[in-house]
Symmetry: C2
Subunit: 428 residues, 2 copies
């Protein structure tokens, strides 16, 4: 398959000059060099880089078969995880699953809302249930607490024998509390590799099992990522859009554009933006540096954040995430009396109106002083999403190295946990 993401930079004109692009190019090359030679900061976490090419086909088959079994056995599959063990699968599932009616996948352990769990337990009473719990160490508080509560519920509902077929653990290959729990109870396990950080783990069993359990074709998803890997492995600012986007981000940031808004015109990409926020925020937000990642769902948020984007402080740049071809479309019907004066749109499709909203917005924001560019997906398929996710992973590695930070660590995430554990009275 051909790599078919595009990157449109028309509305960067006057904000990012060809000269600035030329001048940052050696830095981008240096950043790529760290990835090629595997000698940059965080080099022990580069497993994601060639994963789409090297992925274990037997493991993928096993994931698919396991997912199929869970789907047959259960009305609802509860996926327990947080952060990198939540957002990748959540993004893909929300993008591709139907909006209304009952959901096959429900996420939990991604917060400490007692109300959420109380209502979930009530809801699950009358359902057949399976669980996929995801945690490298088994020690992360949210999924650990929620798994304890839900495992208890499952034991009461199904007994010790039957839950073996209904609980699958995604965890470390050898060590950690969740691994021990799985061994003690006879739960099936999948492995989270040591050389891939949480926010880069969507193509490991962490993301693949819940995605497959939602009924999505993970082979296509992986193929999309593989296609992106090949297309983005090398090249120049003109031929490699991961280099170009990484360059643009750094140039704008150095000029005081400290906020990036990732704006879609399809709310189904909402959680793709949430995943992107972790990927970019956690990779770049360190050493008192880093672009602040925000997101908007348009046209919804044009009616809330639109005023500020158009006229507010000019410390913003915008990146549109655009899907060219809508899956289902609706034609605007004719109205004999035309009381709403919309007959000029009769026979047009809603996606056409949405597209003109995008075109109008990108031009208006540009004229209002917001440099913007667009990442364009041909459609919203498993394959395209695979391309998009690998693209973003490659961009953030190049971009963070160019910013001068280690893209693969997260030294700040323990600060609040230490204080929390003290308050909870945990023996540290």
């Amino acid at each position: 398959m051909k790599f078919n993401l595009r990157y449109d930079t028309k509305y960067l004109d006057g904000f990012v000059s060809p000269k600035e692009m030329d001048s940052i190019w050696p830095e981008i090359q240096k950043s790529q060099g760290y990835l090629t030679a595997r000698n940059g900061q965080g080099k022990e976490f580069l497993g994601w880089l060639d994963l789409p090419k090297n992925i274990d086909v037997n493991m993928v088959r096993d994931i698919e078969e396991t997912a199929q079994k869970l789907r047959v056995n259960a009305d609802v599959i509860v996926v327990i995880g947080i952060g990198g063990s939540y957002l990748g699968a959540k993004a893909v599932v929300e993008m591709l699953q139907p909006e209304f009616g009952e959901k096959k996948i429900i996420f939990a352990g991604h917060n400490l809302s007692a109300q959420y769990i109380a209502e979930l337990l009530e809801f699950l009473k009358t359902k057949e249930v399976a669980i996929n719990v995801i945690s490298k160490s088994g020690e992360t508080t949210e999924p650990a607490v929620i798994f304890r509560v839900l495992e208890n519920f499952m034991r009461g509902k199904y007994g010790n024998d039957e839950i073996k077929d209904r609980i699958v653990c995604t965890t470390d290959a050898k060590k950690g509390l969740l691994k021990k729990i799985a061994e003690a109870n006879g739960y099936k396990t999948f492995v989270i590799p040591d050389d891939i950080g949480g926010r880069f783990s969507v193509l490991t069993p962490v993301g693949l099992l819940p995605i497959a359990a939602a009924g999505i074709n993970i082979w296509n998803f992986i193929a999309g990522a593989r296609t992106a890997r090949e297309a983005l492995e090398s090249g120049t600012l003109d031929t490699n859009i991961s280099y170009k986007y990484a360059a643009v981000r750094n140039i704008l940031y150095r000029k005081g554009k400290c906020i990036e808004v990732l704006s879609n015109f399809d709310y189904r990409l909402h959680y793709a933006a949430e995943w992107w926020k972790q990927l970019f925020g956690e990779s770049e937000g360190k050493e008192n540096k880093g672009i602040f990642p925000a997101s908007c769902d348009f046209t919804t948020d044009l009616h809330s954040m639109g005023q500020l984007l158009q006229d507010g402080e000019r410390n913003i740049f915008e990146t549109f995430l655009i899907v060219e071809k809508e899956l289902n479309d609706i034609e605007i019907p004719f109205a004999p009396k035309d009381l709403d004066k919309l007959n000029y749109l009769t026979g047009k499709e809603i996606s056409f109106v949405n597209e003109q909203a995008y075109k109008g917005t990108s031009e208006a924001h540009f004229e209002g002083g917001v440099p913007n560019s667009a990442i364009i997906l041909p459609n919203k398929t498993d394959f395209s999403i695979g391309e998009l996710f690998y693209f973003f992973e490659k961009v953030v590695a190049i971009s963070a190295y160019t910013l001068g930070v280690n893209p693969f660590n997260q030294p700040g995430v323990e600060a609040y946990k230490k204080k929390m554990f003290m308050l909870l009275g945990k023996n540290l």
Copy 2:
């Protein structure tokens, strides 16, 4: 009832000094003066200020009765609106309605996703349906297009007579396209007052009818707002928390803190933050000024945005939105083998763990260089939410005047629309 929101400023220590507070006080007084004398910029849009006191009781009764009829007649009530005609009701409904199972209220017309509408039409086929369409002019593209599609659907499903009992319009008292449509078809109408802008309209029929249709007690909601109005009408920085929060925001912004993150520890407040983003972004984001409003749902987003908040560029301040008393709670069960090493939490409730996460986070972010304060709600009830919403309305008026802009206009929101209408071929 007593006003029972609190504002905790402990972790502003060293970031906002008593001297700075003293020195901004005359500006805050001047801003309050514009409201009291009704002689500031945008003075024609101050209807929200005394609304909780002056609200027409007969209108509220009519709203309640109408909502009750819709609830009885319909499995699903589709609320069509965008921006200020969407976010207030959405925030309250999402906060107080059950998480799982079928929803009584579905929102539409808040985007141009053809897929959303296609799936909605499919879903509605087997349901009894009612509609509340909300638009001051009837000309806003999204709700107008979606109402045309859904009115067509309703006509096919119920016929011209029966839809009269199933469609309610919230619109201008006299003029506009939606008013004409209502008159021509015999739909019941409620009035959007001329002196209240969209983002301040949650206590008008715009917000009240959908909220009542969700089964929520709007009398309590209004009573909360009324209590807040009285408590926040006058006073000093020490006695009036709307003054204090407005002062803090302006002091921090002048020192380069250009991003405010509204962080909850209860995801049910997610859409309250979306409503807040419109209220603050649209009121302040103009004349190349304005704090960028962002939001986080914790603990979820501590595992995505946490690293950047702790260690990233120090251009951020944080405002926590905290609910003291969780509605339902869940006790963490005992596990005989303690494989997950969580027995130190046995007998504790999940809300207790969540509370320690908040305490740990606020202290850690403070130590990491993020000034933070907290708005504390005693509970998540209709009454408290009414207090909160009025509090924010009062704060933004004071805050925007103190910033030096008109809190009540939105001159930038037409820019993209003009371009879009040209692309759509509309005769302007």
